[in-house]
Symmetry: none
DNA sequence: TATGAATGAGTTTTCATTCAT
DNA sequence: AATGAATGAAAACTCATTCAT
């Protein structure tokens, strides 16, 4: 996934020093992007923030887009790695395995949602910028589409499994349901964490998301996670 | 809502002719915005498209932002007027009235979703641009927040009514649920109609949205709309 | 002196109504010029202020310069008429006549300075704008040069008379002295009334101007103007 | 005094090469300003004149005003340094020291006036532009006010000293007199050197200024500067 | 590698003046 | 005469990218 930039400049820095400078630039870029958004970020800001000369930026990245892609890439990495570690990666999603026990899926959904929430919160600012860039950069849209398709696919397969196991109504379209529920969680978090649509209480929102998710699928709620 | 510019330029044309030119500009603006997006649109494009001189644009609007606001304003007008005419305004929303009969609400939810879908489809291209602008224009974000709060509020009140009528589980948080379900419908339509996330079959998506909506709230599905 | 504008438009309005509109425009122009300066004044401002349509301005004046010239012309009219009525027109100046009595000239100088001061104060704001326009408009510079030459000429002739009468030292160059003293009074008033160089006390400044004027010429001060 | 721009553009060049370019721009700016006046000067002119790219101008100055300020700053520097070197800085001004001898002050006044005249002549063209800018730029007006106050203050103190020494009439208001005499010299030079008010003979004007200055203060003229 | 200067096409906005009604 | 819309040539300023050292 990494290395999306075109490839004019030395993508793989040779010296130790070069590698460090490159890292500094990536870190600086993320901070500046978060601070000002993609559109308002100037290459000069990034360079200044990284304490390197203006021209040095172009030693490592062919363009502003290129650093952004790299930053976003690492972010996606974090989002998926972290939120899929315990059970799964995305809303409503669930890991393959022994979830035949009717109560287990509920717990998994809940766990997945929480993990996703944590990841989202950690990266909220960048998520906003990613949203921004996605509105005008085709390449980037494609990247997100892929990510989404992947995690929705996993969710859909989980729902199918649960349908085969008889714990989810067979009348539900797994693919569409996975999409819709993912959209629900994703956009709710976006509106809250990014746009600041004030649900004064985090837990209330998360609990509602869990509940709606389970009810929509017809899963029995997990016993209180004592 | 419109009328953003401070006051040097004659916002409101005084003659018939002026009014026509202004309309031409708004129509042209919408077309160009849809064609190229907000960022790639130049005032020159709009003027050319409206077949007026460059300067004439500034006779009626102080900036690109200003026409955009006006275009968006009209779009929101259309979105809310049209989708709330039959009885409902927004996803999950319901008009005041005799919806105590347990099957009625389901029909209303369904009807609201379809109406919203139609409106969304009609305006899909502009919705994409609106999304774009919302990612960097604060004033605009605020405008959308207001619109969203309004329609979510209406949904929430409907849910409360249904809870009092005993047809929706009292354990659900009306406010949060309204938000989450609106986010689900909204974002699903966005991903599909705007981002082109290919659900080859419209009906499948809409039916799923209806179903999840109803199930999430615990409403009995309406009898087939014969 | 009036009628400096080129002459495309009907300079002499035919109807009574037209004459009134023209006057309104001149009055409005003066007010706007005083408020914003020449450079910052827009024809639109003048028209709006005069409560006439934008286009109507051009019915009476071919350009912004043209109204300005007319306004300035009237101002010069006022400056010279008023300040030369009692005794004389400009600093250090004196009317022709019986000023052989050695104390008389002092009183005349004093009176002329006061009258000039009053006129200047009355028109201070426009004087500032005239100064402004004079820095870039040749035609206008010429106009002022003429005015200056005239009043300096009168002063110089007075000095010569006084020299012949033996009450002013013959060693003084009448032309140069008239110039220099006029410059002193003029610029002092400018710095004070226009630039706001704060001599907290008007009288102190005026008395000093009188005194320096008289001493420079070697005139005995007038007896206290009881 | 210079350094007006906020902070995006690198005001101070970091390399030798940059410093040279900056100097070229300042020199070019002065020449273009003198040639066309501030208002008629385009940044493009300056850049072209300095033989740098359009954008390079903005590498060193945030605006036309900014270079102007710098040019003016250097000019003021020259005006004050040069004219105060021998012993005096401005018209009527005098250095501290042993000027009790009644003839000395006269010589000093005369010397100061000549020095000021030389400086003025050297910079006449820019003085015209400075006058122009001062009519509409507040910041600039303030700058001049400060310069004026300083030099007038010095003159005033000299007059006081002379009053205490008994060689200038105690009836004179030192502050006001200093102002008025400075205005006389300043404006006379302006009218002559800038506006071209034709005193065919320089010496005649200067001698008159000296004479009026001395007479106004009641100082005995200096013996012929042999 | 690192540095920072140089480049100039691209956009927005202004506004005096002209026109159509 | 009066009205207000239409025009379009300027001009300032930005900033990603390239270069010279």
């Amino acid at each position: 996934m990494a290395d999306t930039g075109a490839g004019e400049s030395p993508q793989a820095p040779l010296t130790e020093r070069g590698a460090r400078t490159r890292e500094r630039l990536i870190a600086a870029a993320r901070e500046v992007f978060e601070e000002r958004g993609f559109l308002e970020t100037r290459v000069a800001h990034i360079a200044r923030h990284a304490k390197v000369a203006y021209g040095s930026f172009y030693t490592y990245f062919p363009s502003k887009e290129a650093v952004f892609l790299e930053v976003a890439d690492r972010l996606f990495e974090d989002m998926t790695r972290r939120s899929s570690t315990p059970g799964d990666s995305t809303p409503g999603d669930s890991a393959p395995g022994d979830d035949t026990a009717s109560a287990e899926p509920a717990a998994r959904v809940r766990r997945a949602n929480r993990a996703y929430f944590e990841a989202y919160r950690r990266n909220a600012k960048m998520m906003a910028i990613i949203e921004q860039v996605a509105t005008f950069n085709e390449e980037f849209q494609e990247m997100r589409r892929k990510h989404r398709a992947e995690s929705v696919g996993r969710s859909a397969r989980a729902i199918e499994r649960w349908q085969r196991a008889g714990i989810v109504d067979a009348g539900i379209d797994p693919e569409m349901a996975a999409r819709a529920l993912a959209a629900m969680v994703d956009h709710s978090l976006y509106l809250w964490l990014v746009q600041g649509d004030d649900p004064s209480d985090t837990e209330r929102l998360l609990d509602t998301l869990d509940a709606l998710n389970l009810r929509a699928l017809g899963l029995r709620p997990a016993p209180e996670p004592s």
